[in-house]
Symmetry: C2
Subunit: 366 residues, 2 copies
C-alpha cells in the first residue's frame, strides 16, 4: 500500500547514496533500522521484471552492522544465537536466527566473522545493538560494540556479475555464494560479497568511505549503461516468489524459529553457550504455528489478515502479492499446525487456496 | 519533506485506530517504534493553527510501553537511567534519559511506576525492550519484560480538557500535569494522564482494549463536534516552537545527556546503581557539544546540515521549521561549545542567526 506520503526527518536517516536515489526517481521508501530504504521506482511490476531480466543497484544502507570487537566477541555472538558460530569462516556469511531466553526471534541477521575478535552482525529491522550492549554489560564481557560507518550497496539481477566485474575487476567472478573478497574501488578496499535480498543473483558492496558513495554509484551506472542498469530495491513480488522471509512481516518477536521453518539454523544438540538453546530444546516439535505458503488462482484483496475456519482463527496472512509471472496470488501465512494437518486447502471469502510448503515450488503448482 | 510515498507493510505496524485515521484523511505518516504515526492531515501550517486554537485527537499508539514486572523491576529500571527512580510516584510520569555505560543516550522515555514491581517505560523511537532483556538476562534479574497491548491516544489543544471531560467525566479536571487517573470508558478502566507531545495542554488515554479503539475515537468526535475536533498528530512547528526534543532528530546515541541540556534529569550524586552514572560523572562539565536554538529572520533552505565557520565544522542543524506565528525560522542545532562561548551569532549562506538557549523564549526574541 503506497498512497500515503512519508514524513522524512533526520530520525529517518538518509544515506550517502540518497542524493543519487532521489535523482534516479525514487517514488517510495520504507523505514528500516531507522533509515530510508527505497522500495519503488517505475512500478512494483515494472521494477520486478527489470530485476529478473537486467541489473539493478539498490541502496541497502539500512542493512546496518552491529560491530563486536574484543576478547569476548565470539562468546557474545554465540550467546545471541542458537546456531553454532564455530561454523563461521572468515569472509563467509552465516545466516543465524537470534533468539531470547524464551526462544523468541529477535532478528535474523547474517553473521560475518572477520576474525575471532571481530564480528559483524548484519541485521534485519530491530535494534540488536541494544540487546548486545545489554548482554555485554550484564555478563561483564570484554567487548566493544558499535554501529560502524558501513553502507551496503546491492547489485542484483542476472547481469550483476558482469557489471560488478567491470567496476571491481576479475576477482569478482571467483567469489562463491555467501562468500566475500576485499576488492578495491578508487584505491579503497571494501568487502564485496555474493549475496543480496533476491534470488536473481548478485553482490553486496559494503561501502566503508562515505565520500566514495556517489563515485561508486556513478561508476556502476556508467559501466552499466549498455546493460540497462537501473536503480531498484527489494521487490515484494520477487521476494515472495523466492520465499525470502522478512523479519517484522512474516516472523516477529512473538514467533519462535521453528514456526518460521528455520530449524536448519538451530544446532539443537551443540555444546554451546546460547541463551535460547535450553528453551528451544523444550519447544522443538511442540510449536503451535507454522509458516506456510498459500496459492490462490485469482488476485486477492484481503479485508482482514486473520484467517477463520468454522468460527475459529486458524491463521494469519503475513505477506502477499499477485505474481504476474505465475498468474497466482501468493501469500505467506502463519497457520495453526493442527489445522494444517487436517486440511490441504483453505477458503477465504469463498476463494480457495492451496496450502504449500515454503519456499514455493512452482514446478509443482498448477 | 513529504514528496515520497511510504510503502506500508505488516512490519510498519498499523494500530487499532488506523481505520479511523485513514477515514479522517491522513496524508502522511512517519514510522516510529516500527509503527505508523500520522503526521499530516490538512497541511503542516493548518494543522498547527488548529492544534493551538481548537482540539485534536492523535493516534500515538507508537508510544510503545516496555512493561517490566517482578521482584527486580525497580533495580532494572534504575540500572537503565541516571535519574533516581526513587522519585517515581505511582500514577505520575517521570521523564528519564536512558544511557549506556559510556553515558550515551539510548532513549528518553517517561517512566510510569504502577507499583514497585510493575513499571512501564513509555519509549521514544528505539527498541529499549531489547536493551532491557539483555540487561535482565546478563544480570540474572527476576523480571518479566514485554510490550503490552497498550495504544495511547492523545487529545491535545486548548479545548482538550473540555472534550476529555465529556467522555471520561468529572475526574479529568482533577488530574495534575504528568499525573494520571484510572477512568472508565464503556465499562473498561484505562489510564488517563495529563500529558502529551505538545505544549497546548491535553491528555493521553492509554487504551488497553483494542476493540474499544473505534468506539473511543467515535465518541471523542461525537462529543467534540461543536469544539471543532479534528484528527492530528505531533506537529513540527508546534514542537520546535515549544522546544520539545525528539530522540533520533535532536539527540541520538552519539550524544550524552549534558549535550542535550538534560542535566536536570541526572541525579549525579545519588547513591544508586545506574549503569551510566560513573561515566556521566566523568563527562559532566567536559562535554564538547551543546544543543542550542538558532533564530533566523527569513525562511531558510539548508543545502547541508553541517555548519561551518572559517573552514571548520562548528555544528549541525538537527531540526528546523518556519514559524508562522513568530515569522522566524527556528532551528535546533548541536554546536561545539568552544564556538558558542566566543560567538553570539552565526552565519549560514550569508544569513545571520541569533544563537539562543532552549527552549526558545519568544519574549526575548525580536
Amino acid at each position: 500500500m503506497t498512497d500515503k506520503f512519508l514524513s522524512i526527518s533526520r530520525r529517518t536517516r538518509s544515506t550517502p547514496f540518497s542524493n543519487r536515489v532521489e535523482a534516479a526517481g525514487v517514488k517510495a521508501y520504507t523505514v528500516y533500522n531507522h533509515m530510508l530504504l527505497p522500495t519503488l521506482f517505475a512500478s512494483l511490476e515494472a521494477d520486478y521484471w527489470h530485476l529478473c531480466e537486467q541489473v539493478q543497484v539498490w541502496d541497502v544502507s539500512c542493512e546496518r552492522q552491529v560491530e563486536i570487537t574484543g576478547a569476548d566477541s565470539e562468546r557474545l555472538v554465540q550467546l545471541m544465537t542458537p546456531r553454532d558460530v564455530r561454523r563461521a569462516v572468515p569472509g563467509q556469511g552465516l545466516y543465524a536466527p537470534l533468539c531470547d531466553e524464551r526462544g523468541y526471534l529477535l532478528n535474523d541477521p547474517i553473521l560475518i566473522k572477520h576474525s575471532p575478535r571481530h564480528w559483524w552482525v548484519s541485521i534485519a529491522d530491530s535494534d540488536i545493538i541494544l540487546w548486545a550492549k545489554g548482554l555485554a554489560n550484564g555478563f561483564g564481557l570484554e567487548v566493544e560494540i558499535c554501529e560502524p560507518d558501513i553502507w551496503p550497496l546491492a547489485v542484483q539481477g542476472p547481469r550483476a556479475e558482469q557489471l560488478v566485474s567491470r567496476v571491481f575487476g576479475d576477482g569478482v567472478s571467483a567469489i562463491r555464494f555467501f562468500h566475500s573478497s576485499m576488492l578495491e574501488f578508487q584505491g579503497k578496499k571494501m568487502m564485496v560479497a555474493r549475496s543480496g535480498y533476491s534470488k536473481q543473483g548478485g553482490f553486496e558492496i559494503y561501502l566503508n568511505q562515505a565520500d566514495l558513495a556517489e563515485p561508486l554509484w556513478d561508476e556502476l551506472f556508467r559501466q552499466g549503461e549498455d546493460l540497462n542498469v537501473r536503480a531498484g530495491g527489494p521487490n515484494l513480488i520477487e521476494r515472495i516468489e523466492s520465499g525470502l522471509l522478512s523479519y517484522g512481516n512474516d516472523m516477529t518477536a512473538a514467533n519462535n524459529p521453528f514456526e518460521c521453518g528455520l530449524d536448519a539454523y538451530i544446532d539443537i544438540d551443540a555444546d554451546i553457550e546460547s541463551i535460547s538453546l535450553p528453551a528451544l530444546r523444550e519447544i522443538a516439535g511442540k510449536h503451535v504455528n507454522q509458516l506456510v505458503g498459500l496459492v490462490f488462482d485469482q488476485a486477492m484483496v484481503f479485508d482482514q489478515f486473520q484467517i477463520e475456519s468454522q468460527h475459529r482463527i486458524v491463521g494469519e496472512i503475513r505477506s502477499h502479492v499477485w505474481s504476474p509471472r505465475y498468474q497466482k496470488h501468493l501469500a505467506m501465512a502463519m497457520m495453526k499446525r493442527d489445522y494444517l494437518s487436517a486440511q490441504p486447502t483453505l477458503s477465504i471469502d469463498g476463494k480457495v487456496a492451496t496450502i504449500v510448503d515454503l519456499p514455493f515450488n512452482f514446478d509443482a503448482i498448477q
